[in-house]
């Protein structure tokens, strides 16, 4: 029996992992999204509405919210993905803030006062989703579609000239990422059983990106490692009291200086695979 304290941390890791994967999927096509907390918010509010007001079972509510968020992702993605690099990052940041202020003014679901009434879900349920999506992503990484995403990531023009449609691939990845972020939000809402717009602000989008960068942005399991580190490191640094976040920052910078590609990367995986084969 794990303690309540560790169960809570583990739940946080699972929720963060899904958020990190949502960024990772979009990043695989070379697009940096700083607005995924917005999709998380959409997922959180929509699933909560479905379970509390409509009375839909949680699993179905999550699937519906993911689909809805994926559609929003497509709609937002088409104009946004005409932008590149830092401009896209700013545009997605704007989208995230837009969603947050929408729920701030959305009095039907509590506005700034937040929304509650959700039934609590177990850590096991959260991890069933997190692990399921992680496995899905790892399998997808071996598919043709993922290879096409990496081609767009490496060189959009050359990808077009070998017959790939960069727009479809980028919007598709953005939409899939948005769906995964919504699942993260739905689980967050039913874990904390209370949500408010402030839960889905800019800092959370940054957390997702951090977890991916830290763990390794070229392989799916990188998001897993990054999520564990991002949740557990500040806890282990508690003995530093008020200085713990500063110390965490120093560790982060040091890590990026030593290993810019993150803890896990493709060549590390290949090296491990070689050792097994020989």
């Amino acid at each position: 029996m794990i303690s309540v304290y560790y169960a809570g941390l583990l739940a946080d890791v699972g929720i963060l992992l899904l958020g990190a994967l949502s960024v990772y999927i979009i990043l695989a096509t070379g697009q940096l999204s700083l607005g995924n907390a917005g999709f998380m918010g959409i997922g959180a509010y929509l699933t909560s509405y479905l379970t509390v007001v409509v009375g839909v079972p949680i699993t179905l509510a999550l699937i519906l919210a993911a689909a809805a968020s994926g559609i929003v992702g497509t709609v937002v993605g088409f104009p946004a993905l005409r932008l590149k690099g830092i401009y896209l990052a700013i545009a997605t940041l704007g989208f995230g803030e837009m969603v947050r202020s929408f729920f701030l003014n959305f009095d039907t679901m509590g506005g700034s006062g937040g929304f509650h009434g959700m039934k609590h879900i177990s850590v096991g349920y959260i991890w069933a989703w997190a692990a399921g999506i992680l496995i899905l992503v790892v399998l997808l990484e071996r598919s043709r579609v993922w290879l096409e995403m990496r081609a767009v990531h490496d060189d959009e023009t050359a990808a077009g000239l070998v017959g790939l449609n960069p727009t479809t691939i980028k919007v598709g990845a953005f939409s899939f990422g948005a769906a995964v972020a919504a699942i993260s939000g739905g689980l967050f809402a039913h874990h904390h059983v209370y949500i408010e717009p402030g839960n889905f602000g800019f800092e959370r989008s940054i957390d997702f990106v951090l977890a991916v960068i830290l763990g390794g942005s070229t392989v799916g399991p990188g998001a897993l490692v990054g999520s564990f580190l991002l949740v557990l490191l500040p806890e282990y640094l508690r003995f530093l009291a008020d200085w713990r976040l500063a110390a965490f920052g120093v560790l982060l910078i040091g890590m990026l200086l030593v290993r810019r590609q993150g803890i896990l990367d493709r060549s590390l995986f290949n090296a491990l695979a070689f050792r097994r084969a020989s």
């Binding site: 399998l139 043709r144 990496r150 990531h153 490496d154 990808a159």
Partner: protein, 254 residues
């Protein structure tokens, strides 16, 4: 003339391209027939690469038509033109930075399989794609470097990988932008043999090249561009002795 035109695999009809006020190409017409190797030569800045960019849809033509297999593809986006059967290589090699040689050969193949199959791991779902990649790998003698990152390989091999990537897509027409630039004679000879074999397997090739001896011994037909205008065309031996060409191109460079 009309009969000949309708048989051409690729017909460029009066292609013009201006950038602002600068005229890069004017009234360029080229025909490539099935199983032909056609060369476009001309001094630096003659508009050769611009012409390739117009054919592949990277640039929009300001005038004229690009007709592939009887169908005008002039205003289509580059991925459609690629799927219609035109593959190309670049003067300054453009390989995918994070991909192995093997991955290049898979990603460039046209997706004939169903959408669902594209989402499944390649190793389970798509033996046909793997077979094709293996075939091309062997044709270009790249087996030894199969799992290496393409960008980490020597320059000459990178050129071969780029050519192999273009060929895996099973194009009707291969566009090569200076395929032997920076290669020594032996390497260039090897490329020439490969191109002849590709031609014999049914492919048509349109290439830009500076290396005159390479062009003369390879191409069935030559077009000469200077300042965006076609100044000569004909069989290699005719072009070689054409005084206009000697003056514009050979005289200046040799």
């Amino acid at each position: 003339m009309n009969a000949a035109q309708s048989e051409a695999l690729l017909s460029l009809r009066g292609i013009g391209k201006t950038f602002g006020g600068v005229r890069a190409l004017s009234d360029v017409s080229i025909d490539v027939f099935p199983r032909q190797i056609v060369g476009v030569i001309g001094p630096n800045g003659a508009g050769k690469t611009s012409l390739f960019n117009v054919i592949t849809g990277a640039y929009r033509a300001s005038a004229g038509e690009v007709v592939l297999d009887g169908r005008a593809v002039t205003q289509e986006p580059s991925h459609r033109i690629a799927r219609a059967g035109i593959s190309r290589t670049f003067q300054n090699i453009r390989l995918f930075a994070g991909m192995t040689v093997w991955e290049h050969l898979i990603v460039a193949q046209p997706h004939r399989e169903s959408q669902l199959r594209r989402l499944l791991p390649i190793r389970w779902a798509d033996p046909q794609t793997l077979r094709r990649a293996q075939e091309v790998l062997e044709f270009f003698e790249l087996e030894d470097v199969k799992n290496r990152l393409a960008r980490s390989l020597p320059y000459g091999i990178q050129r071969k990988v780029e050519m192999a990537r273009a060929v895996t897509a099973r194009p009707k027409l291969l566009l090569l932008d200076e395929p032997v630039a920076g290669m020594n004679h032996e390497e260039a000879d090897a490329i020439r043999r490969l191109l002849f074999r590709l031609r014999d397997s049914g492919l048509s090739i349109l290439l830009i090249e500076h290396d005159m001896s390479f062009v003369m011994t390879l191409c069935d037909y030559l077009y000469v561009l200077d300042f965006g205008i076609m100044i000569a065309k004909g069989r290699s031996e005719e072009v070689r002795t054409n005084p206009v060409v000697l003056d514009a191109y050979l005289g200046r460079s040799a």
